[in-house]
Subunit: 477 residues, 2 copies
């Protein structure tokens, strides 16, 4: 019996009542359901029974109350760029497309904050903020929706200086499973007023409620931005450089590590001729004087760690050129084997263990016979692998899955976490259990009390019953 049938819910009644609320914006075509059945990952897609294109929090609240009454799953969907099966409708139900809730409600320049609806994307916000001399700094690569980024606790290249979504969401408006609407904070920059509900909903992957408004932190656009690239003989040297710079308190805005395989890939893909060795891509933000000072310290520390001379640039187009290798990393990796698919995964460890973790992982890649370039947000101890693979090679998929479990085990054994920024979704449920143990019971308790009918994005982060076994993995490829 399917999980869906097990729910024994009243889907037809829920659909009829939802239709009464939003009319033709409740879509049931196969094509639209398929579009909303997956993110950008290897997980098997589970189709929702319908997609609701909502336009207001009142509609979200009404539909939540309907789904709750009929015990029908409700899944919020942003841009579909998540990587661990977060939006897959594993138990069917209604997927709520938030993209039409994209009003920019306010940009408060003096307070360096913005109030937006969840469908606004990060580039849209940045475009609006730019006119006030401000920027929104969280950059996970994709032009994701801000609601989705909050829900997955998104991060990215700027996190080492400006924080992740955890640090950049000041307050949320949330529709709870029964349709109640709450606000989790104010526009005050800090507060000691009660439980931090904002941080509870950030990263909850839509399992506790639906975000209908966000108050976000902005930063002043720096006077000067300097990019730099530096090659190293060994991974240890590259990572030691970063560790030392952080200890010195040099506020690096971005620092990305590409390994030898990844550098080779970008050289081929973009016609560049960097040495195919571990390479750091830096970005420094500040005043003219302070940014130059930080570059000179970084150059000195790199040199002490046998780094190459710095290639560096200050003008926007030159910086773009310099960072091109980083920005095209994923496509360059895929191009190593034409016709391949990418399977992306990440872990995060204390930075003191990063070199060791990456080196062991590289050994494992070679021994297992995989092709998986590494890119690291090295200032945070976070690194990514892009498995480049033939989607029809089932044995390879199984090997990759097993490899990823070893990767997580290795990170946990080093005091790290099973995911630095991709999240749990339904792809890393076992990994979270391995990492968090009894804490998962507390998460489950919180879920149960806030969503007693388990309608909010069910089957994600943890299994609802502690005794339940994870289902076998199906590959989307």
């Amino acid at each position: 019996m399917s999980q869906r049938a097990l729910r024994g819910n009243s889907l037809d009644a829920a659909l009829a009542e939802t239709h009464n609320v939003i009319g033709k914006r409740l879509e049931r075509s196969e094509a639209i359901r398929e579009q909303h059945a997956h993110g950008e990952s290897w997980h098997k897609a589970g189709l929702p029974d319908a997609v609701a294109f909502v336009e207001s929090k009142a509609e979200v609240a009404a539909i939540a109350a309907i789904c709750n009454a009929h015990k029908v799953p409700l899944i919020a969907f942003g841009t579909g760029t998540s990587l661990e099966g977060h939006v897959t409708a594993v138990q069917g139900g209604i997927t709520m497309d938030m993209s039409r809730m994209n009003r920019m409600i306010a940009i408060n320049a003096e307070d360096c904050d913005a109030v937006v609806e969840p469908g606004v994307t990060r580039l849209q916000l940045n475009e609006a903020a730019r006119h006030h001399g401000l920027m929104f700094t969280v950059d996970p690569g994709a032009d994701a929706s801000l609601g989705g980024m909050a829900s997955t606790r998104a991060s990215g290249t700027n996190a080492v200086r400006y924080g992740t979504m955890k640090e950049n969401v000041l307050a949320l408006e949330i529709v709870l499973s029964d349709g109640r609407i709450i606000r989790t904070g104010t526009r005050a920059r800090k507060s000691a007023a009660g439980y931090d509900l904002t941080k509870l909903f950030v990263g909850a992957e839509g399992t506790l409620g639906v975000i209908t408004e966000l108050t976000l932190r902005l930063f002043g656009i720096p006077e000067t931005v300097i990019s730099a690239v530096c090659s190293f003989h060994t991974l240890e040297n590259a990572i030691n450089t970063v560790t030392q710079l952080i200890q010195f308190g040099v506020p690096i805005a971005r620092v990305e590590l590409l390994d030898d395989v990844q550098m080779d890939a970008v050289n081929r893909y973009s016609g560049l001729n960097y040495p195919a060795v571990p390479t750091l891509f830096f970005e420094f933000h500040g005043t003219k004087i302070s940014a130059a000072d930080h570059v000179s310290i970084a150059r000195e520390v790199s040199r002490e760690n046998s780094g190459s001379d710095f290639l560096w640039a200050e003008k926007e187009e030159e910086r773009a050129k310099l960072w091109k290798a980083r920005h095209t990393a994923y496509y360059a990796a895929l191009a190593l084997r034409p016709g391949s698919k990418g399977w992306s995964t990440d872990v995060c460890v204390p930075i003191s263990r990063l070199a060791e973790c990456i080196l062991e992982t590289k050994r494992d890649i070679i021994e297992t016979g995989l092709l998986a370039p590494i890119v690291g947000h090295v200032g945070d101890g976070n690194f990514h692998l892009a498995h480049v693979l033939d989607p029809n090679d089932k044995a390879l998929l199984e090997k990759t899955y097993a490899f990823n479990k070893r990767l997580v085990r290795r990170a946990l054994d080093m005091g790290g976490t099973c995911t630095g920024e991709h999240g749990i979704g339904n792809g890393k449920i076992e990994s979270l259990q391995a990492e968090a143990g009894a804490s998962v019971d507390v998460m489950r308790d919180i879920k149960r009390v806030l969503d007693p009918n388990n309608i909010m994005n069910p089957g994600k982060i943890f299994l609802t019953n502690a005794g339940q076994k994870a289902s076998a993995i199906d590959y989307a490829f």
Copy 2:
């Protein structure tokens, strides 16, 4: 009937069983119970029935299980420096003194983190970190325990640059109400693995569990620290200076505002001769070059806002002299009326509303006939009042209480919060209800599922039953 009698619990059995666990370290003397009945505030003390001096998490877990079985309140106590009645035993029970759990478990210099027991104080941690070239930056003034600081989401002068306890607690070990022990995170610098339980327990004021271990973030001690003082004709000018510096992205490490009344007080108290006008106390951290650059920008922006010339200092003893006015602010305020007591309160608003909020508050102070100097963590929009009052003047206490309610209302109406850093305790329960509304129901739900017998520091943050009326305020003075 007293709240305590209403619990209908088995106190004697709980005390006997606790005695079996820790023997003579369960103290019942009046003197020790009184010491543990209050923080440093105006709230009436509620004496616990006994004080348990615990020495290990196993003891904490055993005592929690005992209290839970017998429905006896359990209150964790650090150094007793909180300001809103957080540790008052309003329903009696066992207060657990955490001060003997003060092991420094690890300082991981490469990772810029420390693992400590909750009884370690912030100065103890700083002393240990200093030998590694590192510092712990959260500074609420008092040398509070780190467990207490996490529980109250403490903050202070450095928050504008380095964050509050929210940003500086990486992970916690928690004993839950039934004695289970969980860990809420790892030493990884960031994670997207499940609900952020760390942030749920930070600021929960001991109502969800007892902290038995903390992983904390450290920062490198900056190469250069420069302090500066600048006077302004008006509050608006002072505050505009700070707003502009933050928008420019100048990473000010501290920026404190003292109003005219407070400056007059410190002049008298410390024999200084600052102009008795709104004054900013700055601190800049960085490399020699970047710190000097930031000072010069701050000086320029101050001048544009009609600020005085900068008094500034770089050597440690000179910096201490310069900041003396700020450090003695509270005692200087009390000395304005010998024999007075201090009643401290705080709110936090968006920085764009800070000048307006402080000015309205000053008008209200004058109209109400109060003596209440103002000190602001102005970079965060957070400010404090120290009511200097005669503890025997009941009419004045009532007036002060009513004034504080107006202050909170004013902050909320400006999009702010009822407390930036002091917390709710039992002093601001009505304020939180006014601020958070339906969100308090969600907090109550979480409390109920994690602490079904309501033993963990009951009567704090919110009333357990939504319908319950707050009891009339009794003053400790």
